[in-house]
């Protein structure tokens, strides 16, 4: 079973994404900030990271930059933001994100993008 790490400081978002991904057949773990995410990634790499941008201790950019720069994991990462303007899209990709989405994501959209990023059939 493929493993997904959700890194978000909002507990409701984590629960929402977890419920969708578990229903889609994935094993899900959670982290509440980038630092905890890095610790979990160091222990065992994941197949997909779903990363919030604004978080305490270490934000989503910092998480991805360290994940990539220190070669902890090169698995695909979906960066999700609540920001309406999408002005952080460029820095998200420069930090190592494979996809940038604005929250809230619809359930079928989240599953479709997760499958796409993990190289699975989307239908």
């Amino acid at each position: 079973m493929k493993r997904v790490l959700i890194i978000d400081d909002a507990s409701t978002i984590r629960m929402y994404n977890r419920s969708i991904l578990e229903a889609g057949g994935y094993q899900v773990e959670e982290a509440v900030n980038g630092m905890e995410g890095l610790e979990k990634a160091l222990e065992t790499p994941f197949d997909l990271y779903i990363v919030d941008i604004n978080m305490p201790k270490l934000d989503g950019y910092g998480f991805l930059q360290q994940l990539r720069a220190e070669s902890i994991d090169q698995a695909p990462a979906m960066m999700v933001s609540t920001e309406a303007a999408g002005r952080d899209k460029e820095i998200a990709y420069l930090s190592g994100a494979n996809l940038y989405l604005v929250k809230p994501t619809k359930p079928d959209e989240l599953i479709a993008y997760a499958r796409l990023l993990m190289g699975e059939p989307t239908q």
Binding site: I13, M15, Y16, A84, R87, V102
Partner: protein, 210 residues
């Protein structure tokens, strides 16, 4: 050629090494200096001078050192006047995500000053400013937080702002929030996340009331 061990930083101006400048003009010059250490020192020393807020805010926008930026933010928080909180609020419009995050963290440390401008920020035309303001409410520990969130759930017309308020309401909401949570569920009945988050918040409030 013999190596000479440097016992002090030759790049620092002599007055910085000899002692701290005292006048506002000297501190202003030092705040714009080329060395992060002198800028950091100036950002600390300027706090007690009248007119420091404007100088610190101007430097914050151009500051490249994370350490100096942090000291500037600490100094602005210590000053804590209306200009400081308004200046930090302007940082919420910045294209620089780190500056925005730093400003959010600093504003969380100024609950009384923030409370005076929350309603103004929640009515801002820019939905991202409203989202960041809700993020600040999370740590504000102010008695009006729940009512501000109720107002967002009832009146804000941007889904992302409403969702951010719902996340927080799930943590701080009381029975007073139940009608607003029910109304927002009806207002966004096709939005899966709104339904999920409103339902979670209602369950948490109802279970803690039992």
């Amino acid at each position: 050629m013999a190596l000479v061990k440097r016992t002090h930083d030759d790049n620092l101006p002599s007055e910085q090494q000899a002692g701290t400048p005292k006048t506002l003009e000297e501190l202003q010059q030092q705040l714009q200096g080329s060395h992060p250490l002198e800028r950091r020192q100036a950002a600390q020393d300027i706090v007690d001078h009248e007119g420091a807020t404007a100088l610190l805010l101007a430097q914050l926008e151009r500051e490249t050192s994370a350490v100096v930026r942090q000291v500037i933010l600490t100094s602005l928080t210590r000053i804590g006047d209306r200009d400081a909180v308004f200046g930090l609020a302007e940082c919420l419009r910045s294209e620089d995500a780190r500056l925005r995050n730093d400003a959010i963290e600093a504003m969380k440390e100024m609950p009384d000053q923030m409370a005076e401008i929350v309603e103004e920020l929640l009515a801002d035309d820019d939905p991202d400013v409203r989202i960041f303001t809700v993020n600040i409410l999370e740590s504000l520990r102010h008695p009006h937080v729940e009512q501000w969130l109720i107002d967002v759930l009832d009146h804000d017309d941007h889904l992302n702002v409403v969702c951010t308020a719902l996340d927080l309401m799930g943590e701080v909401g009381t029975e007073a929030a139940i009608p607003a949570l029910q109304r927002v569920g009806s207002r966004y009945e096709d939005e899966a996340y709104v339904q999920f988050a409103a339902d979670m918040a209602l369950k948490r409030i109802q279970s803690s009331a039992e």
